[in-house]
């Protein structure tokens, strides 16, 4: 298994070897601490997303790796080379900017060729590589156009081509899809994913949209206030959130702050068996983990399932599913997602598997 | 990194040039104002005598105050002409706005001399205006006050500076977000009220900027008086000019220049504060 993704264009999965290591990087802007001793390994060939709210430090981290900012302390390594002392133009890293930053005075072809030209690539090589890059993003017919004549989605592809043509070891993408409208966004998401698999280059993607992160990534790194909250594959993060913040940021959840005694957790009107030893534990219970009990209780694990009764407060129709807001008594509200079932009212029976109540850490923000 | 080295390198030539060709000359002028003239030569004896001469001499003071009155009149007239013009262009001109704007700025860059000369030919006793008035039998003899008077200077300078005053006012008016005006109307204010309570206050920084420009430049103008001012229209810069010419007293001339400079800078600082206070950002 070769280390350099560049030489193995058909590598479909991350090789497990770290390409980039961010080591205890801190970044201050004046008195503001934006990144707090953050450490993060980026595996060669993976699609890693930095996810977080605005202010979480994700863009700053990206810019540190690109070389537009310097870390206040800490180191950034890429394959035995220490990156942070190097100026941006000497790093084997390329960026796709949020607003594309295409050069308006150059044609599409000239834009894409730019990186090759300034590094004195032999002129004979350039046209072939530019054509290859344009072909990858399906923009070959626009080679002679000026960027200002292109739509947002088209400009984004050119920005991608311009970066990829240089065969960087790492591609940084700074919220590249945020300026596109919803349908185009979905289309570009799948194209990006396919492209990354084909080309095999490590992608570091920044977004605040958790659905996007989940759809695209091999791994998601959730940042919060300059620290790494959790990192893992989308499935891991979704099914096994480590903290309440993660559970709430990714998808929706019900946070049950329960008292635990003798193997039983109690929260309001709900009681369920748990292995947690902590007398005060917060649990995350996803809305889709709760089922509507029919009279025949079709749940096969019904003897493990915990049942409760609740009053329907609100019902939001979502096409294939309904989102119910229910009152378990004493104003304990839960959100429950059930398959489409027609209007519900009054008191209903619900059940859930206690294994789906995941204990999470709750840190003060 | 090394882009910082480039930045510092790039700053040096302009810094050097400005130091040698601006700072040094202004400093020289400042120094000269404290020196003296003896027997036709400039002597480097330091004294406050020139300033004393300036402030004790009634003639100089008279000219200075006349200059300030003229500058004030020019500013006022330019505002009276320029503001409504800017308002019209910004709010009422519709599709013709671009074209009209070009129309206003063109004369701005047409030679000062050309425009001053035009007034000279128009205002003279044999000039076009008198000729027209007599031709139309409105008057029977040439009006003398038209030319070679403070009136002529004010007229000419207003003509020069109205476009100057127009520009920042227009820019300020254009920057007023139209939704603010719609909101004012929506809340029931008449056009007049909307103007007084919304548009005018928000355009004040531009107004102050334009007025300052017109006042300061009129204050130091020496060409207009030479063209159309005559003896009764002499302004303080003409005094300076003659002190550097026939009347050969550079130190005194420098002292007066420095005084003009001081007034100018004081005004600029004052109006900068005003602009900041009124800029509602």
């Amino acid at each position: 298994m070769t280390q350099s993704a560049r030489n193995s264009p058909h590598v479909a999965t991350p090789s497990g070897v770290p390409l980039v290591e961010v080591r205890a990087v801190t970044k201050n802007f004046g008195s503001r601490e934006v990144l707090k001793s953050l450490s993060l390994p980026i595996t060669s060939g993976e699609f890693l997303t930095l996810l977080g709210e605005s202010g979480s430090g994700k863009t700053t981290l990206l810019r540190l790796i690109a070389g537009f900012e310097q870390p206040t302390s800490g180191e950034i390594w890429m394959a035995q080379i220490r990156l942070d002392p190097l100026p941006a133009h000497q790093r084997p890293v390329n960026t796709v900017f949020q607003h594309y930053a295409l050069f308006p005075h150059l044609s599409v072809r000239e834009n894409v060729a730019y990186g090759l030209r300034v590094k004195n690539t032999p002129t004979s090589e350039i046209p072939a590589r530019v054509d290859e890059a344009l072909g990858m993003v399906k923009m070959s017919e626009y080679a002679g156009t000026r960027p200002s004549k292109l739509s947002g989605g088209q400009q984004q592809r050119i920005a991608l081509a311009r970066a990829l043509v240089n065969r960087p070891q790492l591609l940084l993408l700074d919220e590249p899809l945020s300026a596109l409208d919803a349908n185009l966004r979905k289309q570009m998401q799948s194209e990006l994913k396919v492209l990354q698999r084909e080309v095999g280059i490590t992608f570091l993607f920044v977004t605040h949209d958790q659905e996007e992160a989940m759809a695209l990534s091999d791994r998601v790194a959730l940042l919060r206030n300059g620290t790494l909250e959790q990192i893992g594959s989308p499935r891991e993060i979704y099914l096994h959130p480590a903290t309440a913040y993660t559970a709430q940021f990714i998808g929706q959840t019900n946070l049950l702050r329960a008292k635990v005694a003798n193997g039983v957790a109690t929260c309001g009107a709900l009681r369920w068996p748990t292995r947690s030893a902590n007398p005060a534990t917060t649990f995350s219970l996803r809305p889709e983990a709760i089922e509507l009990s029919t009279n025949n209780s079709g749940n096969s694990d019904s003897h493990d399932a915990v049942s409760f009764t609740a009053t329907i407060h609100q019902q939001i129709y979502g096409g294939s599913s309904e989102l119910l807001e229910v009152d378990c008594g004493a104003n304990q509200l839960l959100r429950i997602r059930v398959p489409a079932c027609g209007p519900l009212t009054g008191q209903q029976n619900f059940s859930f598997n206690p294994a789906d109540a995941i204990p999470v850490r709750e840190d003060p923000s | 990194m090394y882009s910082r080295a480039y930045k510092s390198l790039a700053s040096i030539p302009p810094l050097l040039w400005v130091g040698i060709f601006l700072l040094l000359p202004y400093a020289l002028m400042f120094a000269h104002s404290f020196w003296q003239v003896r027997d036709g030569f400039i002597v480097h004896d330091w004294t406050l005598g020139n300033y004393q001469a300036l402030f004790r001499n009634p003639i100089y003071l008279q000219v200075l105050f006349r200059t300030m009155r003229i500058a004030g009149a020019v500013t006022l007239c330019s505002l009276l002409l320029g503001y409504p013009l800017a308002y019209y262009l910004s709010f009422r001109s519709g599709a013709r706005k671009e074209f009209l704007y070009q129309l206003v700025i063109v004369p701005l860059w047409v030679s000062y001399l050309v425009r001053g000369y035009a007034w000279k030919t128009i205002l003279g006793s044999e000039g076009v205006l008198n000729g027209a008035l007599q031709y139309l039998h409105i008057t029977h003899a040439p009006l003398a006050f038209l030319l070679y008077s403070p009136f002529a200077v004010v007229l000419m300078l207003t003509h020069i500076y109205t476009p100057f005053v127009f520009l920042p006012i227009y820019a300020a008016l254009e920057n007023i977000p139209r939704p603010l005006i719609e909101a004012s109307q929506d809340l029931g204010a008449s056009p007049r009220k909307t103007f007084l309570k919304v548009i005018l206050p928000l355009s004040l920084p531009g107004l102050v900027a334009g007025a300052t420009f017109a006042f300061v430049l009129s204050l130091g103008d020496f060409l207009a008086p030479l063209l159309v001012g005559g003896p009764s229209g002499t302004m303080i810069s003409n005094v300076v000019q003659s002190l550097f010419g026939a009347a050969y007293d550079w130190p005194l001339g420098a002292a007066i220049s420095v005084s003009i400079l001081a007034i100018t800078i004081a005004l600029l600082v004052f109006t900068e504060r005003l602009e900041r206070r009124w800029s509602f950002k």
């Binding site: 133009h89 390329n94 960026t95 900017f97 607003h99 930053a101 050069f103 308006p104 005075h105 300034v118 | 882009s3 480039y6 930045k7 510092s8 790039a10 700053s11 030539p13 302009p14 040039w17 601006l22 000359p25 202004y26 020289l28 002028m29 409504p84 013009l85 019209y88 009422r92 519709g94 070009q102 063109v106 004369p107 701005l108 860059w109 047409v110 030679s111 000062y112 001399l113 050309v114 425009r115 000369y117 035009a118 030919t121 044999e126 000039g127 008198n130 000729g131 027209a132 139209r178 005006i181 719609e182 204050l219 130091g220 020496f222 063209l227 810069s237 550097f244 420098a254 220049s257 100018t264």
Partner: protein, 267 residues
């Protein structure tokens, strides 16, 4: 812009605006008209229109020498002011150094100060340096005074520059110098040309500073000025008309460039 339909027409304002336009343009119109008047610059109405004064103008070698002198000084001033102005604008936009505020004020001072002060200061400096007054001193005076114009225009141009483009260039491997040459400068092209036109026009028309720095060779404005002393003829109207037409051409180009720069870039 929906505000145009806002209220009823304002006839008084329209008339007033028209009057102001008339005030601004009538003197020039009169000037042009009388350049064709056989009987001189005054009187009313102009009779006997003729091209004679223009013919006299074209044969007037002193004027054309002065025009040449002005052109030399103007072109030189453009080069000098743009170069120094660009460096000054870059320094103000990107560099931090002690005395930056003082520098900024100093650079902009000649714009707002009456020309006589700048002219006299430079005169004193010339005497101090033992220099002879000539076109060279005029050139240095114009160049210095007009750096402010260049700096202002180019600074505005730099501010409008998309910083991300320069970062993209670095990201793609271009050195800072390459980035400046390939990306920054082309994006400033419009600002540079606009500033250049402006400086050219201002230099051609400059009197106040020139007045005190002129040697034996006259620039055009000073040549005209000298003639005004001797007595006015419609020949002066003729040259003034030509100056007026030339200015219109230049300023129209300048304006087109400016609006193109402000509009054209983003789709």
């Amino acid at each position: 812009m929906s505000a145009t339909r806002a209220t009823r027409r304002a006839p008084f304002l329209t008339l007033y605006a028209l009057a102001v336009f008339a005030f601004i343009y009538l003197p020039i119109v009169v000037l042009i008209l009388y350049s064709f008047n056989r009987d001189g610059v005054g009187g009313f109405p102009p009779r006997h229109l003729t091209f004679a004064w223009y013919r006299q103008l074209f044969a007037d070698s002193a004027i054309w020498t002065a025009v040449l002198n002005s052109l030399i000084v103007a072109v030189g001033s453009v080069v000098l002011s743009l170069t120094l102005g660009l460096l000054a604008a870059l320094a103000l936009d990107r560099a931090e150094f002690p005395g930056k505020t003082l520098f900024r004020r100093l650079v902009l001072l000649p714009l707002i100060l009456p020309g006589i002060i700048t002219g006299l200061s430079l005169l004193m400096f010339a005497v101090f340096a033992g220099a002879q007054l000539s076109l060279l001193t005029v050139f240095l005076g114009h160049g210095t005074a007009l750096i402010s114009v260049a700096t202002t225009e180019l600074f505005a141009g730099l501010q409008k520059l998309d910083r991300a483009q320069e970062e993209a260039s670095l990201d793609l491997g271009a050195t800072p110098l390459q980035t400046f040459w390939h990306i920054t400068l082309p994006n400033l092209k419009l600002s540079l040309v606009a500033a250049g036109l402006l400086i050219f026009t201002l230099s051609m028309d400059e009197i106040a500073v020139t007045f005190f720095l002129i040697g034996r060779d006259n620039t055009l404005p000073l040549e005209i000025w000298g003639r005004l002393r001797r007595g006015i003829t419609p020949e002066i109207n003729a040259i003034s008309t030509l100056i007026f037409l030339g200015s219109i051409a230049l300023i129209t180009i300048w304006y087109r460039l400016r609006t193109h720069a402000q509009r054209g870039r983003f789709s």
